[in-house]
């Protein structure tokens, strides 16, 4: 009941006038109570989620899991750990971000600094929006078509001339499309927050537009670039559909060729998300304890990225332009 009296006890910054106005109608009070309830429910949900995985994680995470590879088996002791999936997660997100960051920054710079002809700018904007709305499973199927084609076939494993289009290259390239919209929108936001007099000051010193962008604007927008990169990486790490389709679904690294790093990149493997999917009761592995442990590690990575985003946004807020 105390919730219903909140508007009276918490009148906000306009206290004197609010005190004089008539009391809120019942329907408004109920509405506010619902808003409070849902807000607290959100916090409770996140808390419960983190706590649940923390408990399961403490129960099931063993140091040995990080050091051993998955192996076929039917018991928790026989199936090994998730060394390769974890390395796979890092590898695949590194590839994806290595592609998404330069392209994303380029597109964002073009959209915010050049943007001519205007028709192309509009098309580009809706393209980015469309990519953000495209289901990742569709991106995955498109990736199969791309990397099966003779032109890109050399990037993935093949046997007797048949290219399967499945490799770390393929998965990373398609995952970069998942991260791209986030990078573009964040970098663009950061660039557009820089007032024009900063640009004009640079032009007055005789700098070209490109030099201004590279030496003045992008360094100033670095926190936004960082935010975009981390949000993108979060999405990439969490994606499962593209991994299931494009990484070939072999739990350990299955190398293709003999050149050390290239063979891994051309070969197939898995990531933590796929490992969780595989070991869930609905998957083929069905080792719940392993699924919990991997999910815990995954959640910790995501949490760390979130904290990083928090720090980055706080830093970008500290940097205020006087206009």
């Amino acid at each position: 009941m105390s919730l219903l009296e909140l508007p009276v006890s918490q009148p906000g910054p306009r206290a004197p006038r609010a005190a004089q106005s008539p009391p809120w109608r019942l329907i408004d009070r109920i509405g506010l109570a619902v808003a409070w309830l849902l807000g607290l429910l959100f916090c409770a949900l996140a808390g419960a989620l983190v706590l649940y995985f923390l408990v399961q994680g403490i129960k099931y995470v063993r140091p040995s899991l990080f050091l051993t590879n998955p192996s076929p088996g039917f018991t928790a002791t026989a199936t090994g750990g998730f060394l390769d999936p974890m390395l796979g997660t890092m590898l695949v997100s590194a590839i994806a971000m290595a592609i998404a960051l330069p392209i994303g920054i380029g597109v964002a710079v073009w959209l915010s600094e050049y943007g001519r002809p205007a028709a192309l700018a509009r098309v580009a904007e809706s393209t980015i929006e469309m990519i953000a709305g495209t289901p990742s499973i569709v991106l995955a199927l498109f990736g199969i078509l791309l990397f099966e084609s003779p032109a890109l076939g050399f990037l993935s494993r093949s046997s007797e001339g048949v290219v399967f289009g499945r490799s770390f290259f393929a998965a990373g390239a398609m995952l970069s499309l998942v991260a791209l919209p986030l990078v573009v929108s964040n970098v663009r936001e950061g660039l557009e927050a820089i007032p024009d007099h900063v640009r004009e000051a640079s032009y007055a010193l005789g700098k070209t537009k490109f030099a201004t962008t590279r030496r003045v604007l992008l360094p100033a927008a670095r926190p936004s670039v960082l935010t975009g990169a981390m949000l993108g990486a979060g999405r990439v790490i969490g994606d499962t559909a593209i991994i299931v389709v494009l990484l070939g679904a072999t739990l350990t690294f299955d190398r293709s060729g003999s050149v050390p790093l290239l063979s891994t990149l051309r070969g197939t493997g898995s990531t933590l998300t796929y490992y969780v999917f595989y070991n869930a009761p609905t998957g083929e592995g069905n080792q719940p304890t392993k699924a919990y442990a991997a999910a815990f590690v995954l959640l910790m990575i995501v949490l760390a990225l979130n904290v990083g985003v928090d720090i980055a946004t706080r830093r970008s807020r500290r940097l205020r332009w006087s206009s």
């Binding site: 619902v34 807000g39 649940y52 597109v107």
Partner: protein
């Protein structure tokens, strides 16, 4: 005139022109990639659509046995079977996405209003990271929670033996259900909505809110009549993005919604909510290993094409819905 002014303030050199062209080319490349995706996917999907016509979207027979027949025909060259009637999958997708987006929309609107206007500062500082965290938790983790917590809960406590017996022989009610899918999908898409809604609400000119408060209208009404109404473009944008996310969710739904392609029937009474279903995206995941047989491949690409076109339609719908709102000076 405008061009002259630009040249005055922006020094241009040959290298600069080259940089602009290169960035422009990069943008064109991304645009071409998207167009290429439409072309490639539709091209691969065409055999399935052309064999079935509009009945692709209809309902006839059992989809699962049709898919099985399609798969089996892959080995016999020249006798490919393409008969596919995807209504149960489409209906399942519509139910799950529609249910989750509707619930999430209402909740998110309340939460966004709460965060922007009513929450005390301390709670705000907690809520914002919480929303971001919930939005970035991988879908497979949500799926795991669903499988370990929600599905047993529904299977053991919500479904009675009597209702299990009443549909025996057609489907098994074991907790993998529409309800589990909707519940978890709601939690997944709501944070996306909240983030975009609250950005929109924050962009509402403060003066408009203050003017309404000055007229003696209480804060709750002001926020809904002025704030939410002004932020409508952002609300549309958030809903579109969240719906697209829900539409494409494959892995989580394939974990909690069950493995049979059953179309939940509202006429079944409350059992409707606990009936299993399998949306379009999960169907692709379920049969992804059979991608190498040509008829199966075309069928899966046809499903992907339907998803892609719905996402495009959704984008366009959002754009169209925003057009009349632009007149009111509201920002996205």
């Amino acid at each position: 005139m405008v061009e002259e002014f630009r040249l005055d303030t922006e020094p241009t050199r040959d290298s600069d022109r080259r940089a602009e062209l290169m960035l422009g080319a990069l943008v064109c490349l991304v645009v071409v990639l998207l167009l290429g995706m439409f072309a490639f996917v539709l091209y691969q999907a065409w055999p399935s659509f052309s064999h079935n016509g509009l009945s692709w979207f209809g309902s006839r027979g059992n989809v699962d046995s049709q898919i099985q027949a399609i798969f089996n025909s892959g080995t016999s060259l020249g006798h490919e079977v393409y008969a596919f009637h995807g209504w149960p999958l489409i209906w399942g997708t519509a139910l799950v996405v529609g249910g989750a987006v509707t619930i999430a929309f209402v909740c998110s609107l309340f939460v966004a209003v709460f965060i922007v206007e009513f929450a005390p500062d301390a709670l705000c500082r907690v809520l914002e990271p919480v929303v971001r965290l919930l939005a970035s938790v991988p879908s497979v983790i949500y799926g795991l929670v669903g499988v370990f917590v929600l599905v047993p809960l529904i299977g053991n406590h919500l479904i009675t033996q009597g209702s299990k017996a009443s549909v025996q022989g057609i489907i098994t009610l074991n907790g993998y259900s529409l309800l589990a899918g909707v519940a978890i999908l709601t939690v997944m898409v709501a944070p996306v909505m909240v983030a975009i809604f609250s950005d929109g609400l924050r962009a509402v000119p403060r003066g408009w809110i203050e003017a309404s408060l000055g007229l003696g209208i209480n804060k709750w009404r002001t926020v809904w009549k002025i704030g939410v109404r002004t932020a409508r473009p952002a609300i549309v944008a958030g809903t579109v993005l969240a719906t697209a996310r829900a539409l494409g969710e494959a892995v989580m739904l394939s974990m909690v919604c069950g493995v049979v392609s059953f179309a939940p029937n509202p006429a079944d009474g409350w059992i409707f909510f606990v009936e299993p279903t399998r949306p379009l995206a999960s169907t692709i995941i379920a049969f992804i290993d059979d991608l190498s047989t040509p008829p199966m491949r075309h069928t899966l690409y046809a499903i992907a094409a339907v998803l892609l076109l719905s996402a495009a339609l959704l984008s366009f719908g959002g754009w169209a819905a925003k057009q009349p709102m632009k007149r009111y000076g509201a920002r996205t």
